[in-house]
């Protein structure tokens, strides 16, 4: 197996044992990018020189740490060695890709938008700083739906990203670039952001693991806001162990984000092998009803049976307000987005329309030119929902639905430890298929939005292929209980036996249609 196809924890062992260098891993990833990126289009910006320099620095640090730990005498240390220095070194020397709405000092951060086409942030997001401190190698910035609005990555202002399992299909969104990069070996792991399912949905479509941590678990500082009360940065990885490893690095209180929570960060990796014997898994009846593709249902039900086979107990639970989640989500998310995106006015940075005569026309024209259709659609929706005559009818009501959903979850978690459902009700769809029908596209988020509205953590784990396309199982846990989530996900992953599914595009796929490229 080539280095770029391996998991981070695999590579970490090899690095520690001195079998490989970070430079070799990074070169393997860059080499893979050279081979498949033209087909996949996972990236918006690739930073090979910086990546190699970071790899060399990581190699030097690994050598120094080994010298310190065992005087250069012993052969190496296993995973247990992490405990002495915390979890950070777990990603030392590992190439990571970053969604392009996460600010990187000196590297342009476009949010997939013409509006920020040339925006170079003067600062690093807290998660980027944490990755740098941990010695990760930053490979580049991945493609995304403009300002994270979309479920297909077709809304990027620059180009579309293709699903490595079938290049005619979308990778999901909005973190489609990150998910595709990990699936295709163009990064070992990646960061995405999840406002309504934007990490989990593309993870499901690309056959990788995606985590939406508890709201407040990971700092949002430096992450360009979409829906502030919903957004969380989450890992995309090849398996559950890598996802746990990466979250361990990202998590923790940040003085720059007052919504981040001062709770100690558990060692997620050590929770992995708890097993699921005796774990109670709730199956919400409402989430297995109409609209669910039978092929998806079949694989998810097989996954649930496999978990039962490993000692978990399933119970039927009810989420009576689940049907309101999507509507509430689209009100809250667009309302917050309309406010968050108002700062892009052409005055201080980003796109500025030429030849405006006064400030009003400057702002109007800059925004008209800089934003794409989906972003404008949502800004208008959100502005409407917040306007004084409609606030009570929409925003206030959505907030009430949010409270009801929280109560649903609290009641469900009285009788179970984890909730299970499909991640997305259908298989990855074809490029262009839903592009002109935003409402049907919004249904991609129908199972994932509840976790964002209520703040609870959730994970998508691949549970098999249907017609050669990946399907993900969605697990939801209690607030700040990512550990249970990881142990359940790990058991599921083992039971389904799909931890190492490799997409065809990782070695080469069929003809690439022009599709909507260059739109």
């Amino acid at each position: 197996m080539r280095l770029c196809e391996r998991t981070a924890h695999d590579l970490r062992g090899m690095l520690v044992r001195g079998e490989v260098t970070s430079r070799e891993i990074t070169e393997s990833v860059l080499d893979q990018i050279g081979k498949v990126e033209e087909k996949i289009g996972a990236y918006l910006t690739i930073t090979p020189e910086q990546a190699l320099a970071q790899a060399d620095a990581a190699d030097a640090r690994i050598r120094a740490e080994q010298g310190n730990r065992c005087g250069g005498q012993c052969g190496g240390v296993g995973r247990g060695g992490d405990d002495a220095t915390g979890q950070a070194p777990g990603i030392l020397g590992i190439p990571v890709a970053m969604k392009d709405n996460i600010c990187t000092r000196g590297i342009r951060t476009t949010c997939g938008s013409r509006m920020l086409e040339n925006f170079v942030p003067p600062y690093d997001a807290t998660v980027v700083k944490k990755l740098r401190d941990a010695g990760a190698v930053i490979i580049g910035k991945t493609n995304m739906d403009e300002f994270a609005m979309g479920s297909s990555t077709e809304n990027s202002a620059f180009h579309i990203t293709r699903n490595p399992w079938d290049c005619q299909r979308v990778p999901g969104g909005s973190s489609g670039g990150s998910a595709a990069a990990v699936a295709a070996g163009e990064a070992i792991m990646a960061l995405g952001t999840d406002t309504g399912g934007s990490v989990r949905e593309p993870a499901s479509f690309c056959g990788v693991v995606g985590v939406k941590p508890t709201y407040g678990r990971v700092s949002r500082y430096g992450v360009v806001a979409f829906g502030s009360s919903l957004d969380q940065v989450g890992p995309l990885a090849k398996d559950v162990e890598d996802a746990a490893l990466l979250l361990g690095v990202l998590a923790g209180l940040d003085g720059c984000d007052s919504t981040s929570v001062p709770k100690p960060v558990p060692n997620y990796a050590s929770a992995l092998d708890r097993g699921i014997k005796g774990l109670s898994i709730g199956v919400p009846t409402e989430l297995f009803g109409a609209g669910l593709d039978p092929r998806v249902r079949k694989l998810v039900e097989d996954g649930i049976s496999a978990m039962e086979g490993r000692g978990a107990r399933t119970v039927q639970v009810s989420m009576p307000h689940a049907e309101y989640a999507l509507a509430a989500y689209y009100i809250v998310a667009t309302a917050e987005a309309s406010s968050n995106l108002a700062r892009f006015d052409g005055v201080r940075y980003g796109h500025r329309a030429a030849g405006s005569e006064d400030i009003t026309s400057l702002m109007k024209r800059s925004r008209s030119e800089g934003f794409g259709a989906e972003v404008k659609r949502r800004i208008m929706l959100g502005t409407y929902a917040l306007s004084s005559g409609y606030y009570e009818a929409y925003y206030a009501k959505a907030m009430k639905a949010r409270t009801l959903l929280k109560r649903d979850l609290e009641a469900a978690f009285e009788i179970c430890d984890v909730l299970v459902s499909p991640t997305v009700p259908f298989l990855p769809f074809k490029i262009g298929e839903k592009f002109d029908d935003p409402l049907s596209m919004y249904l991609a988020d129908v199972y994932t939005t509840t976790a964002n509205l209520t703040g609870v953590p959730a994970i998508s784990v691949p549970c098999g292929l249907s017609d050669g396309l990946p399907v993900g199982i969605h697990l939801v846990g209690r607030l700040f209980d990512e550990e249970t989530l990881f142990s359940a996900a790990r058991a599921l992953e083992e039971a389904c036996g799909v931890a190492r599914m490799r997409p065809p595009a990782a070695c080469g796929c069929g003809d690439v249609e022009e599709g909507r490229n260059g739109r």
Binding site: C103, G222, T259, A335, S339, A342
Partner: protein, 482 residues
């Protein structure tokens, strides 16, 4: 003003917090720093930047609210007020909409010796905006506008009164009292000339005895206490005139033009913004601990009203003098330092409100910046009390001390100004005066008692005012009666 109308005024005052750093980031807040030298991603509203509440800003606001007798919220939160403006980098202002930090307070004012209570509706915390600098003579002819974001994100308190104010005089008294309270608790430096205190007045008129208020007009851009007074007088007269002419006042916002001395139409209610307020998701709600509030209440500095009452009680000052000193932090501090050295409050107050204030006004110097110290004043009061110098001499000693900063005792010594109480010295002078003025001496002898005043004056003149007038009177009477 017509007898038949009553003016109804509510005030909205914005005061910048006297904090060293901004309210949601750590940038400095120094006034007059080079443009954009005190900014960061947070106050510039860069993509991804997040606000974090500065506890000091919250404390300042709470202290101000407590001083204004408000109830401090147990649960408060921040909201976004959305509107587009080039000096508002995020295109929303973080403010407080329905749950302000303080509410339902009051401020007692005094107008022409009449006490009056103005209720305070709310005190809330928000952030300042930046400043547009127009390159050119005015905003219309400017070819470009530049942005200075130094002010952006400075903590701003908004204090909203109920419509309890009934005249321009009351409005001015309210502002002045508010200022002294905010200064006393150190919440703001309240410099109207630097824009750190700004006010808007909501003015309406109604027939005396009416139950319902008239249509209110919002007055903006009022930059001084004097302007508040003028603007309200102008606007209420305008409204009355309009009504008497059969017209109707429309709900609108008007701009006060201080140079022209009139208000001008700015925008109508229909053009008013829909701010689309909603809870600020980047800041967690505020749960204000009761014990913290109580501790703050216990540690409140003495407020102007309490201070004035104490001055009246301890030093026997007339109520209005006591209030005048207590309302000014500078005067009060000076007063207390002076009486600590020389325990005669009445004299100290007389000097502070008399010669000292006059000299400050005449020179335009602030008390804190003047060369005069409490030690100086106390020393002078001691010399007067001991009879070393007369009150008249003291005035010229004060003048010298105020101008040069020289200690009064030194001025007296160098200029030989100490009072002559020495009887033999005085007798010699008096003998000369009597000899030189036979006319008045004869008049006195003839029963014209007033003639003695002239003779006393002559003695004072001979001694350049240094003679002790009591002694002079005594000796003169003695000599003349022989």
């Amino acid at each position: 003003m017509s007898q038949d109308y009553e003016v109804v005024i509510g005030m909205e005052v914005h005061a910048e917090l006297a904090a060293e750093s901004k309210v949601f980031c750590r940038c400095r807040t120094e006034f007059g720093a080079p443009p954009n030298s005190q900014t960061c991603p947070v106050c510039l509203g860069m993509p991804g930047a997040l606000p974090v509440l500065n506890k000091k800003a919250l404390e300042h606001t709470m202290r101000a609210a407590l001083a204004l007798n408000c109830t401090i919220a147990e649960y408060s939160k921040f909201d976004r007020k959305n509107y587009f403006y080039p000096d508002l980098p995020k295109a929303y202002q973080i403010s407080q909409y329905d749950l302000p930090i303080g509410r339902d307070g009051y401020l007692d004012i005094d107008v022409d010796g009449k006490a009056k209570r103005v209720r305070i509706r709310r005190v809330h915390l928000e952030e300042e905006t930046g400043k547009s600098v127009h390159a050119g003579d005015d905003i219309i002819s400017a070819t470009q506008s530049l942005m200075d974001f130094n002010r952006c994100g400075i903590g701003l308190m908004e204090i909203v009164s109920e419509a309890d104010i009934r005249s321009a005089d009351e409005a001015r008294a309210y502002l002045s009292k508010l200022r002294s309270v905010l200064l006393a608790v150190g919440a703001s430096d309240c410099k109207m000339e630097e824009g750190s205190m700004r006010c808007e007045a909501n003015v309406s008129v109604m027939p005396v005895g009416a139950k319902e208020y008239g249509t209110l007009v919002e007055l903006k851009n009022i930059a001084s206490f004097r302007a508040v007074h003028r603007a309200i007088q102008y606007e209420s007269a305008r409204q009355i005139q309009l009504i008497e002419a059969g017209g109707r006042v429309t709900r609108e916002t008007r701009h006060w033009d201080d140079a022209k001395g009139q208000t001008a139409f700015m925008r109508s209610k229909e053009e008013a913004h829909d701010y689309r307020y909603f809870p600020e998701p980047d800041l967690v709600p505020l749960l204000i601990d009761r014990s913290w509030v109580e501790e703050m209440r216990r540690n409140m500095p003495e407020l102007p009203d309490a201070k004035a009452a104490r001055y009246a009680r301890e030093w026997g000052l007339p109520q209005c003098d006591a209030a005048q000193i207590a309302d000014s932090a500078a005067l009060a501090g000076f007063f207390e330092a002076t009486v600590a050295l020389h325990p005669d409050g009445r004299e100290a107050a007389k000097w502070l409100l008399g010669d000292v204030s006059a000299a400050l006004n005449a020179t335009g110097i602030e008390l804190s910046a003047s060369k005069l110290t409490p030690e100086h004043l106390a020393e002078m009061l001691k010399m007067i009390a001991s009879g070393m110098i007369s009150g008249k001499i003291a005035k010229s000693v004060f003048e010298e001390t105020f101008n040069s900063g020289a200690a009064p005792a030194k001025v007296v010594e160098e200029r030989g100004l100490s009072q002559i109480s020495n009887t033999s010295e005085l007798e010699a002078v008096i003998a000369r005066v009597l000899e030189a003025n036979p006319g008045p001496v004869a008049d006195y002898a003839a029963g014209k008692e007033r003639a003695i005043t002239f003779l006393v004056g002559q003695v004072m003149k001979e001694t350049r005012g240094r003679a002790n007038p009591g002694e002079v009177n005594r000796i003169l009477k003695e000599k003349l009666s022989h």
